[in-house]
Symmetry: C2
Subunit: 144 residues, 2 copies
């Protein structure tokens, strides 16, 4: 499977948008993310619908932040993307008749649910401001 990098992509885009004064075009985001402007629009669409960013059309248009960076967490962003599947591993059959397979599924699901809960908790603890702070920290470290 090709790995889903939408979360990584939009976070990267958001930080660039936050750093820019006016709106940032899909083209600009695409070039700094090494992808295609159409992909940017498609991916950002979820965040737009969730109200985290806004897009202005026409001359001098583009994307800008439309939320409080202190309140929005990585978990919110993940949800806005439609909560894509986290695991590449899963059960072969979600509703098996075989009692053996049901047992295997139950044990695996327990473990996966615990791991997912932890991941979501972590995501919920990181605001976009904190993410930007991580960048600032790295920037000053490099400068010194």
């Amino acid at each position: 499977m090709k790995r889903d990098s939408r979360l990584s992509s939009v976070l990267h885009g958001l930080l660039h948008m936050a750093a820019n004064e006016g709106p940032t075009t899909s083209d600009a985001l695409a070039s700094c993310m090494g992808t295609n402007p159409v992909v940017v629009r498609r991916t950002m669409a979820g965040l737009r619908e969730a109200g985290f960013v806004k897009a202005e059309r026409g001359h001098s248009g583009g994307w800008s932040i439309a939320c409080d960076l202190e309140r929005v967490t990585l978990r919110d962003i993940h949800q806005a993307l439609g909560e894509p599947a986290i695991f590449a591993i899963g059960n072969r059959n979600e509703t098996p008749e075989c009692l053996v397979e049901q047992s295997v599924n139950a044990v695996l699901d327990d473990a996966f649910e615990a791991a997912e809960a932890l991941l979501m908790q972590r995501f919920g603890e990181v605001t976009l401001v904190a993410l930007a702070g991580e960048f600032t920290r790295r920037l000053s470290r490099r400068r010194s």
Copy 2:
């Protein structure tokens, strides 16, 4: 991406093998797992190399357990399968030049590593005997 169900599949197969007296053929495993005998051989190959199962060729051959079910855990099985990727989500670029992207990656990687560590810990706590016990429990529950 199609989800990787090899772990689920081999565990299902192992429990069936453990329940059978003699060796179990790939055909038998395949039909109870709803797949193809070639897929069974290919998937079981890792466990065979790890010494968890053995395969006998020729007449009245097939697969049988070759390990202590109390000592082998789901984690061992996952390793024997070649430690396939756990997450369907990942960074767009693993070694980015952009400091913004590096920051995003670092924060995401932290969270993913924590979730993976928890999952592996859970897997390490479940032996094949415990898995079989889960089946026995379900069986008696259904009978009552």
